[in-house]
């Protein structure tokens, strides 16, 4: 299972949740798998997807699902401390852990070495931390966490790599923002 397959499985469980997606290939893959106005594609600012999701979760009642990566969340480890402190019940942080910086040429990341992101999340006070390493566990895990009070961290262990033919997102930032804000307003 690569990030593409994992993302597809997570999206099978998504109804009206707001989705924030990490920079680079993750956003491009999500756009191809299932574009919708409730998706916010973060096209710059590597590391900040979980923070955008936290701000959303603190500001409105709908559930927020964030797709982050192991390399990008490692750029912003403080996010675990803040999520643990604020403890928003409506936040699910999905970390796709492929032990690589995929968008920049698959250099190995810190989780290929000693970094234990699930341990970091737990140590920051996040009680619901689930590690998933099989594709068929993703849907039941997501259904469970979406039905319970959070915050939740779901760490999905994946193989590095991506399919051919995934291109850049053909809509610009303001269009992404405006349709997202319109759907949040309801």
């Amino acid at each position: 299972m690569r990030r593409f397959e994992a993302t597809k499985k997570v999206m099978e469980t998504i109804g009206d949740e707001l989705v924030v997606c990490n920079i680079g290939h993750p956003s491009q893959e999500l756009f191809q798998i299932r574009d919708r106005p409730e998706n916010f594609y973060m096209l710059g600012s590597m590391g900040l997807a979980s923070s955008i999701g936290l701000g959303l979760a603190m500001s409105q009642p709908r559930k927020v699902v964030v797709f982050d990566g192991d390399g990008s969340v490692t750029m912003n480890l403080g996010t675990f401390a803040t999520i643990g402190r604020v403890a928003p019940a409506n936040l699910v942080l999905v970390v796709i852990d492929n032990e690589a910086y995929g968008s920049t040429g698959f250099q190995t990341s810190f989780t290929a070495g000693k970094l234990d992101l699930a341990g970091v999340a737990r140590a920051a006070g996040i009680e619901s931390v689930t590690v998933v390493d099989a594709e068929d566990e993703i849907v039941p895990t997501m259904r469970r966490v979406l039905g319970e009070h959070g915050p939740h961290v779901v760490l999905v262990k994946c193989a590095a790599g991506m399919p051919d033919g995934v291109g850049v997102i053909p809509i610009d930032g303001l269009a992404i923002r405006d349709r997202f804000m319109a759907t949040v307003r309801g």
């Binding site: 710059g44 923070s51 936290l54 701000g55 603190m58 403080g78 401390a81 604020v86």
Partner: protein
């Protein structure tokens, strides 16, 4: 202190709240301690401390996407850590964040290491697309009105620098670090 004379912190906080700013994050600063205390006591705002300014800009972006009017309380030194978030997130997606920034390295600074960033901050802000105004005294808080109105209308970030003179701290000693 008279109970009827508002402090510089109270004057600033009231001014910002009057514009409907209702979502705050902060990074600690002794000069901004009074503002942070007011934030912690205000039940009508959403507020959290953050570990670093860059994380804060992400959180403020999420808040704006949900219809809030967000602000960050921080020292100018922290601006050095957030330029990419300012350009590629807040600037790119047109998020009108209000930045209330204590100006270390301004007149009265006793810690030499704070001076270089203190001197650079305004030019760095402006080069990264943030409108910047210095408020040297509470009498000049009208600059905050003007700046916030501009930011909300243009959907652009705005920063206000508050040097030692604003806080009536003439002599900033190492104990204040």
């Amino acid at each position: 202190m008279s109970t009827t004379t508002p402090t510089p912190s109270e004057l600033l906080y009231r001014k910002v709240r009057a514009h409907g700013i209702d979502f705050f994050v902060s990074v600690p600063c002794s000069l901004l301690g009074g503002v942070i205390n007011l934030l912690e006591a205000d039940r009508d705002v959403v507020y959290t401390p953050v570990t670093r300014e860059e994380e804060g800009m992400g959180i403020l972006t999420g808040a704006y996407l949900a219809g809030r009017r967000p602000a960050i309380v921080m020292q100018n030194s922290g601006y050095g850590t957030i330029v990419n978030a300012i350009c590629s997130l807040v600037g790119y997606y047109r998020i009108p964040t209000v930045m209330l920034v204590s100006h270390r390295g301004s007149e009265g600074e006793k810690i030499e290491a704070q001076v270089p960033m203190g001197e650079a901050v305004q030019a760095v802000m402006e080069a990264s697309g943030v409108r910047c105004a210095t408020v040297p005294h509470p009498d000049q808080l009208g600059r905050v009105d003007e700046g916030i109105e501009w930011a909300l209308a243009e959907e652009r970030p705005v920063a206000f620098l508050f040097p030692f003179s604003y806080w009536k701290v003439a002599d900033y000693t190492p104990e204040h670090r």
